[in-house]
C-alpha cells in the first residue's frame, strides 16, 4: 500500500526511536502535523509545542545532552526554519546531535519567492554538520536513517532535513526502515592509530608535570570510565573545559577545575607550566588558549579527537590521535598499564606546586553585608540541590561562569551550557528539553536576567507539558558580563547594558500560572531555594544580587594566560585602552 510522505516520515521517526519532537507548526508543514494526530503515531511520539523555534532547537540540544539520544525538531518553512539558525549554530559548535525537519514550499515553487519561502538548505549549509533537501517521497526513509546516523556518530552535530510540500504530500511504497546504511563519503575514524598511541605513552613515561586537558568529547563518547582509569593508573591531574564539566569526579583530589578565561587561577597556571598536555576531546578554543603565540610553548602536546579538523587547527600538536575518545583511551590504558613507573611519587613536586597556587589564589569574593553576592547565591544553589542530583543548565554571562566555577557538577550529562556560540537564551529551553527526557529529575536553570528574557516565553510550554523546570535568576539588573568588560576595558563607560527597567519576575511567573519567589537579602537565599526545589511544577526564583560584582579570575580577552587577573588585582593600565 502506498503511504503519503508525511506518514512515511513519522513512521520512520518511530522506527528511529524518536519519542519527543520539539516544534511549531505552520502552513507548509501542516500535512505532516496532521499525521501527528494518527493514534499509532500519537501513542509513540509526544510533540512539545514550543513558543519559538529557537527554543525548540535549544530544547532538542538539552534533550540530547542530558539523555544521549538525538533531539528532534519540526518547524515550518521560511520564518520557522530561519528561527532555528541560532540553535543549529549553537549545536554545531558544541557538537550536539539534533535533527531539524523544516517544511519547504513545493519544489515547483522553490526559487520563486513564494510565500514563506527561504533557501533553507543554502542558509544552513555552514551551520549544520550536513543538510538534506528531499526531492522524492521514496527517499524519505533512507534520508531519515542517514540524518540520525550523521547527527549522532563521529563528532555529533546538527542535521537539517528540508521537506518540500509536494514531497510530503506525494505517495510512495513504504518498505520499512532501511537496515543498511551506506554513505560513502562519511566514515568517521573510530580507532586510534596504534603507533601514535605508543608514541603518546612514550611521552607520558618521562613527563614530570603532565596535565590532562579534557573537553566535551569525553562526554559525547561517554569515556568517563576510561578517563577515570587513566587517572587512577597515572595519577595525572585533570582540568576540564566548560563543555567537559561533569566528565570527571569533582571530589577526586586530582581534579583541578575548569580551564579558560574564567577558570580558577591554579588550573590555568597548570596549563602554562605543564611539560606534557594530554588534550582529550577538547579543541583548543581561544577562550582556553588565550593569546595563541604564547600558548603551549613549554610543553609537548598529545591531542585525541574524533574530528581531524580540530587537530592542529590553532596549536601545534606533537602526537595527534584521531579516533573516538572512548576507544582511544581504552587502548591507551592498556599500554599505560604496562609501564613500570611509580607515577605519583614522580609528580610530588608538581602536586606541591599546584597546591601552592591553589592556596595563594583560591576562588574568592569580597565580604557580603546586606546585599547578596552572586557567588554566594550559586554556592547556596549547590548546597541545597546537590543531594537531589539535579541537571543544571545556564544562560550566558557572569552567572554562567560563576556556575561553572562554583557549581561542581559531579556527573556527566548533567551540565548544560552554551560554550562555543555563547548563546544567551540557551539555558531555559535547554533545561526544558532535559526535563522532557527526565521528567522526574530536578532540573535547574541558573539564568541571567538578560539571558532569561531572550527565551522566557517557553515558560508556558513548561506549564502545558508538566515540565517542572526551576529557573533561578541571578538578577544584577545588568547585562553583567558586558558591563564587566565595559568597566575593565572601556573605562566604565556603560553603554546599553542597564536592565533596571525589567519585568517583575515574580509577577511574570504568576502571569504564566507558576510560582514566583524572590530573595533580596542573604539570609533569604537558602530558604527560598529550598522552597523552590521542593515545590512541584515550574518555579521562578528571582535572586536580586549586588549589581556590579565582577567575575574573576579572568584572562583578559586577547591576553596570554599568564596575564590572568585575580579578584582584587589592580587592572593594568593598558587594558583600559579597549580590547586588543
Amino acid at each position: 500500500m502506498k503511504l503519503t510522505g508525511s506518514e512515511i516520515l513519522l513512521r520512520s521517526l518511530v522506527e528511529e526511536g524518536v519519542d519527543t519532537i520539539f516544534g511549531h507548526p505552520g502552513g507548509v508543514i501542516l500535512h505532516t502535523y496532521d499525521v501527528l494526530t494518527d493514534p499509532a503515531v500519537a501513542s509513540k511520539i509526544r510533540h512539545i509545542l514550543c513558543r519559538h523555534e529557537q527554543g525548540a532547537t535549544h530544547a532538542a540540544e538539552g534533550y540530547y545532552k542530558a539523555s544521549g539520544k538525538v533531539g528532534t525538531v519540526m518547524v515550518t518553512s521560511g520564518p520557522g526554519a530561519c528561527n532555528t539558525v541560532t540553535g543549529l549554530t549553537d549545536a554545531l559548535l558544541d557538537s550536539m546531535a539534533i535533527v531539524v525537519f523544516t517544511g519547504q514550499v513545493p519544489t515547483t515553487a522553490m526559487g520563486c519567492d513564494a510565500f514563506q519561502e527561504a533557501d533553507v538548505v543554502g542558509t544552513t549549509r555552514t551551520c549544520t554538520k550536513h543538510n538534506f533537501l528531499i526531492l522524492k517521497t521514496e527517499d524519505i526513509p533512507r534520508i531519515v536513517k542517514e540524518a540520525y546516523h550523521i547527527a549522532r556518530s563521529g563528532r555529533p552535530g546538527p542535521v537539517l532535513v528540508d521537506l518540500p510540500k509536494n514531497v510530503v504530500m506525494g505517495r510512495a511504497e513504504y518498505h520499512g526502515h532501511p537496515q543498511e546504511l551506506h554513505i560513502r563519503g562519511y566514515k568517521p575514524t573510530l580507532q586510534g592509530h596504534a603507533g601514535q598511541i605508543k608514541r603518546a605513552v612514550e611521552l607520558m613515561k618521562t613527563a614530570r608535570r603532565p596535565l590532562i586537558y579534557g573537553g566535551g568529547g569525553i562526554i559525547h563518547s561517554e569515556a568517563y570510565e576510561e578517563l577515570r582509569e587513566l587517572v587512577a593508573v597515572t595519577r595525572i591531574p585533570v582540568a576540564l573545559t566548560l563543555m567537559g564539566l561533569g566528565a570527571f569526579d569533582t571530589s577526586d583530589p586530582l581534579w583541578l577545575g575548569m580551564v579558560g578565561m574564567h577558570g580558577p587561577y591554579w588550573s590555568n597556571m597548570a596549563m602554562i607550566h605543564c611539560d606534557l598536555m594530554i588534550a582529550i576531546g577538547s579543541r583548543f578554543d581561544d577562550r582556553v588558549t588565550g593569546k595563541l603565540s604564547e600558548f603551549g610553548k613549554q610543553c609537548k602536546i598529545i591531542h585525541i579527537d574524533i574530528d581531524p579538523t580540530s587537530i592542529r587547527k590553532t596549536v601545534h600538536v606533537d602526537v595527534p590521535i584521531v579516533g573516538d575518545v572512548k576507544q582511544v583511551l581504552g587502548e591507551l590504558n592498556k599500554e599505560v598499564r604496562q609501564v613500570e613507573r611509580h607515577w605519583a611519587s614522580d609528580f610530588g613536586e608538581w602536586y606541591a606546586q599546584i597546591a601552592e597556587w591553589k592556596a595563594k589564589h583560591p576562588l574568592r569574593y569580597g565580604p557580603m553585608l546586606d546585599v547578596i553576592k552572586p557567588q554566594y547565591a550559586i554556592d547556596m544553589i549547590f548546597e541545597v540541590s546537590e543531594r537531589m542530583n539535579p541537571i543544571v543548565a545556564t544562560g550566558v554571562g557572569q552567572h554562567q561562569m560563576w556556575a561553572a566555577q562554583r557549581y561542581r557538577g559531579r556527573r556527566p550529562r548533567r551540565w548544560l551550557t552554551s560554550g562555543g556560540l555563547g548563546t544567551m537564551g540557551y539555558g531555559f529551553p535547554a533545561a526544558m528539553g532535559a526535563q522532557a527526557a527526565f521528567p522526574g529529575d530536578l532540573v535547574i536553570c541558573i539564568d541571567g536576567d538578560g539571558s532569561f528574557q531572550m527565551t522566557n516565553q517557553d515558560l508556558i510550554t513548561c506549564v502545558e507539558n508538566n515540565l517542572p523546570v526551576k529557573v533561578v535568576i541571578i538578577n544584577n539588573g545588568y547585562l553583567g558580563m558586558v558591563r564587566q568588560w565595559q568597566e575593565l576595558f572601556y573605562n566604565r563607560r556603560y553603554s546599553q547594558v542597564d536592565l533596571t527597567i525589567q519585568p517583575d519576575f515574580v509577577k511574570l511567573a504568576e502571569a504564566y500560572g507558576v510560582i514566583g519567589l524572590r530573595a533580596r537579602r542573604p539570609d533569604e537565599v537558602k530558604p527560598v531555594l529550598e522552597q523552590a526545589f521542593t515545590t512541584p511544577g515550574p518555579v521562578i526564583v528571582d535572586i536580586v544580587t549586588e549589581r556590579e560584582e565582577n567575575c574573576f579570575p579572568m584572562i583578559p580577552p586577547g591576553g596570554a594566560i599568564k596575564e590572568i587577573l585575580d579578584y582584587g588585582d589592580p587592572i593594568p593600565e593598558k587594558l583600559f585602552q579597549g580590547l586588543r
Binding site: R125, T126, K129, H130, R184, G185, Y186, T309, R312, K313
Partner: protein, 197 residues
C-alpha cells in the same frame, strides 16, 4: 569559478592542487565553494566534471596558501559528507592541463606575428574575423600565462580559461579512488572506450 580575473600569477604562497571525488548531485559544488569561501581561502580555480562513474564527480581545486592553511582546508573538505575523497597533490608527479580561449585584436599588420606566436605555442586558431582571431591553447598554467602575456599587447577582446584539471602520472592513483572505479571493467558498457587485446 575562476576568481582570478587577470592571468597574472603569483604571490609568494605555495600553490596547492587538490582533487576531490564528490557525490554527483545538486548542491555539492555550492557546499565546497561555500566552505572555501567561509574560511577565506583564496581559490585560483575550481573545475568540475563527471567521472566514469556517473554518480561521482571529480573536482580540481587550485588554492594558494601556507601548508598549514591548506592542510586545514583539506581536512575541512574531507569533513563534508558529500565529499568521498580529497587528495592534496603537492609533492606528487602529475600532469596538469588547462584550456584557454583568447579573442585577440588582429590589425592587418599584426596578423602574421599573432599567428607566429600561436604557432610557437601550438595554439589553434578556432575562429577568424576581419579584425580578430580566436585562439585555443591547452597546457600547464605557466605556459598559458606566457601565451597570454605575449598576446596582451595586441589587445585582448575576450578571454576565457577553464581552470586546471590534473591527473597523477604512472600507475599510481591518488588515494584509492572509489571501489566502483576499481571493479573489473564492465565490457558491455565500455566497448568503444577501451581497446581490447
Amino acid at each position: 569559478m575562476r576568481e582570478r580575473t587577470k592571468a597574472i600569477p603569483k604571490e609568494a604562497k605555495a600553490r596547492h592542487i587538490i582533487t576531490l571525488l564528490v557525490e554527483n548531485h545538486a548542491g555539492v559544488l555550492a557546499r565546497v565553494a561555500a566552505l572555501i569561501a567561509a574560511k577565506g581561502y583564496n581559490i585560483d580555480s575550481l573545475t568540475v566534471g563527471e567521472t566514469v562513474d556517473p554518480s561521482i564527480s571529480r573536482m580540481t581545486l587550485v588554492v594558494r596558501g601556507d601548508d598549514s592553511v591548506v592542510e586545514q582546508a583539506v581536512k575541512q573538505l574531507n569533513r563534508l559528507i558529500d565529499v568521498i575523497r580529497v587528495t592534496d597533490l603537492t609533492g606528487e608527479e602529475f600532469v596538469e592541463r588547462e584550456l584557454v580561449l583568447v579573442k585577440v585584436k588582429a590589425k592587418p599588420e599584426a596578423k602574421a606575428e599573432i599567428l607566429r606566436i600561436a604557432d610557437i605555442f601550438r595554439a589553434k586558431v578556432v575562429d577568424v574575423a576581419p579584425f580578430s582571431y580566436m585562439l585555443e591553447l591547452t597546457g600547464a598554467e605557466d605556459k598559458l600565462n606566457a601565451f597570454v602575456e605575449l598576446l596582451r599587447p595586441y589587445g585582448i577582446q575576450e578571454f576565457a580559461r577553464t581552470g586546471m584539471t590534473v591527473m597523477t602520472r604512472g600507475n599510481k592513483t591518488p588515494g584509492k579512488q572509489t571501489e566502483e572505479m576499481w571493479k573489473e571493467p564492465d565490457t558491455k558498457k565500455v566497448v568503444g572506450l577501451v581497446e581490447k587485446g
